[in-house]
Symmetry: C2
Amino acid sequence: MELSLKIKMNEKLFLRNPEESELGRKIIQHSIILIHKIGLEAFTFKKLAKEISTTEAGIYRYFENKHRLLIYIVEWYWSWQEYRLIFQTNNIKNAETRLKKAIRLISTPIEDDVTTSHINENLLYEIVMSEGAKSFLTKHVTEDNKAKLFKPYKDLCARIAGIILECNPKYKYPNSLSITVIEMAHSQNYYAKHLPSLTDFGNSKDESKIVSYLEDLVFSSIKV
Amino acid sequence: MELSLKIKMNEKLFLRNPEESELGRKIIQHSIILIHKIGLEAFTFKKLAKEISTTEAGIYRYFENKHRLLIYIVEWYWSWQEYRLIFQTNNIKNAETRLKKAIRLISTPIEDDVTTSHINENLLYEIVMSEGAKSFLTKHVTEDNKAKLFKPYKDLCARIAGIILECNPKYKYPNSLSITVIEMAHSQNYYAKHLPSLTDFGNSKDESKIVSYLEDLVFSSIKV
DNA sequence: TTTAATAAATAGTAATACTATCATTAAAAA
DNA sequence: TTTTTAATGATAGTATTACTATTTATTAAA
């Protein structure tokens, strides 16, 4: 059996669906590679076009601008994470076990669980870590939010918040705690790598310590 | 008695010290106003120059580029926060009381405690909330970090981590918890304002709820 | 086969992010 | 007082970015 995961993205994110053509998929694939390599600031449609032997205008036919493309790949990532979470916690009755699994999943990227064709989830994880926040830290968040562009992110947050509530129905801040864990899972990894004195994980790259920290944080808070 | 707080900034941040001239102070003052108004992306030295009736080249004599200017104002803010923390927790013996004070301080901006001349701390707080992370989310973090540009941020983190350790010397993640609180103090406020479903604070703008959440988070973790 | 739609290639524009030059003014040193 | 220095101001110029528009080529349906 050969599986191919296809995530349906919000149509407002693109002008032409990149999943439906060879060029479109190449745009996604190589924008991930290129943003990872040179960073969002230096990334331009012209450079991307060169990489995949098309023209700048060719890419503009798919995406309005690079910020929309960023939201596209970041939200694709969150959808993918929610899918992984659903898949991997399926059939686990115990809410605490599921919560632990969730924490582990969002803190440690690799473990390729499904072949998602042209998208390199590892690079994408690092992009989300270092560029992800930029997708909503703009003057037009409110509009973008109204257009439901951040739905996957909010869905994942709500799902983990749901598990938190299952563990302790009386806990008062499930959403805030959920987003705290999601954010910290990424930013603690970023700090460990680039600004280690902001963490207690040295340069050890030891992700299991980050998992321990987040588990401790969450389970202390909800007191189970 | 008239006090005027002057924070000494890392010299690598500027080409000419903006604190030492009328023009320099105007650059700082109006860059805060303008970034707050139109956002970092739309902010340019040309527009700033127009605001303060000087030329683009005039601003380039003070700052290499807008990213350095961003780091300057963001790190000024962290220095100012550390100053406030030291000042306001002075003479408080009890570590827990100090920690609570610290949480309250970084979560609620206003309470003008000192007249810092040309800098509007309120606007600055909102800039740090929405643009602050961009100062280190770049491809050149490592260099910038080596140049000690982020020292004020790291100092504040270390100071709060210190208080955490005073409360519980055995707690294993003082730095991570400290930076979690600092970050969340800002991003939960940002979410409450722009993406409320990611928090439990509705649109109520009720900062005291954020304080309660963060207090709960911290004191549950360190278990005192 | 013609026509209509789709995509690719080329060209062009306004704005951005700078750098360089030179003139003016004001303050400090000789 | 004159001279020197330093800061500012004014002007111009460049490469790149972020687009838009037009034309040309390709393919698909009538």
